[in-house]
Amino acid sequence: MKKRAKYLLLSLFSLGLFIFAWYLVTDILHTFPAQALPSPTKVVLTLVKKFTKKAPDGGTLFQHIWASLKLALYGFSLGAVIGIPVGILMAWYRKADLLVTPIFHFLRPIPPIAWIPLMLVFFGIGQTAKAAVIFVSTVTNCILNSYIGIKQTKDVHVWVARTFGASNGRILFKVAIPSALPMVFAGLSLSMNLAWMSLVAAEMLAADKGLGYMIQYARMMARVDLVIAGMVMITIIGAILNRILSAVEHAVVKGRHMQ
């Protein structure tokens, strides 16, 4: 426990130091024009006020957060629910593997944000297009990681199960899937981060609400304080989502707590 407290203290100290330096440079020394770098107090104030103020972009911070979160989670869950089983099946059944994997290799190198224009053309400007982008990137990563996880199943474990008389399907559920879970979660974690980031980018391009839209609008209004406040919010929510996923992983994936 002592070590953890020490690191926590160190982190808080770093945070404090940084904010103090920032404060020093702006409010006291006025090294940069207020346009370029607002003081931390201004940013905090803006952030707090934005929770309830609709100006300048027409939505409160709550509304933006909710819009972004809703979309990200929707695309993410759909992608995970479809991607994980597909990845598992692809890895377990040889025919599926040989047929689908080549297609997959073509889709994988395309960055998620590159899908945005295509989706916008298909679905028009709206929530569906953005959700589709998140979906595609999540599905790709979940398939990949689940696939690798299953492929890494140790032969020894399969043989033990088979010698006891387990059928192929039984082996899949009793051996392959449990042993692949750490990899599956790694895929989920990666997808979540990618989803959150792609969503923000998509919102910058074509949206009328959401955190990405908010900071892009703030940029056009040259409101640096709002941009930074938005970045802070984006970062915090991303971190919270990560935390939640991590907690779920710990609860579900036992046996690796000492890794």
């Binding site: 033990v160 006891f164 036992k254």
Partner: protein
């Protein structure tokens, strides 16, 4: 009827001929030890029996029919570590029982008894990454014992264990064997162990492997390692394998 009938078993890996036209029987309820040089195909034989490998020609029959892992009751304790890292000790031991379809109550009870047998009761909630190598092997042994198999295959299971534990487990194995009437095929490098446990010893040759000799072991149980007859038999087997 013979429990296991091996007929003209031949197995190669690419160009390498490992098992060369091997034939022998294992009687029902017999304790057979197989000794041979490293890499001569002992493990290959067990893997062929359990259908991990496909054989090139010949046949292996169990109870007069081809091996059917679902129908027949086998347990195989492999040389490599085979505990499942995502299950704790208790769940690992229950693994075979669950696949065989025992009721929940039976699964728990049989697993508990097996754990007692190998002395791991107080470690039942531990995970493999918290255990030592010998404990992991004991988990595999408990897992095999728990299903009380018809045919028990063991590939140098006690190699990693200290002497005291080894003796204890050897005696427990004999107990179990007698109580259940299990047929046991036991592979080992340790001649003393082979002589201590088995009713018959199969000595294998180098690759391409054939049966060099079969030695009957009629020493009465319980055996004393220091008795004249024991030592004589041990020397006899050792002489056969001196060229290893």
């Amino acid at each position: 009827m013979n429990k296991v009938e091996v007929r003209n078993l031949t197995k190669s890996f690419g160009d390498l001929l490992v098992l060369d036209d091997v034939s022998f029987d294992v009687k029902d309820g017999e304790f057979l030890a197989i000794v041979g040089p490293t890499g001569c195909g002992k493990t290959t034989f067990l893997n062929s029996l359990t259908q991990i490998y496909d054989i090139d020609s010949g046949s292996i029959l169990l109870n007069g029919e081809p091996v059917n892992l679902k129908k027949h009751s086998l347990a195989y304790i492999m040389q490599e570590y085979s505990t499942m890292s995502w299950l704790n000790v208790r769940q690992n031991v229950q693994f075979g029982l669950e696949i065989k379809g025992f009721s929940r109550k039976e699964v728990r009870e049989k697993a508990e008894r097996a754990l007692e047998l190998v002395g791991l009761t107080q470690f039942r909630d531990y995970y493999p990454n918290q255990l030592s190598a010998s404990m992991l092997q004991r988990v595999a042994i408990a897992r095999a014992f728990a299903v009380q198999p018809d045919l028990l295959l063991m590939d140098e299971p006690y190699g990693q264990l200290d002497l005291e534990l080894r003796f204890k487990l050897e005696d427990e194995l004999l107990n179990l064997w007698r109580k259940l009437g299990t047929t046991v095929i036991f592979i080992t490098h340790n001649i003393e162990e082979a002589v201590y446990l088995s009713e018959r010893i199969l000595v294998l040759s180098n690759k391409p492997t054939a049966i060099k000799e079969t030695i009957e072991n009629r020493l009465p149980y319980p055996r004393s390692v220091t008795s004249e007859a024991f030592v004589e038999l041990r020397n006899r087997v050792t002489a056969l394998i001196k060229w290893w």
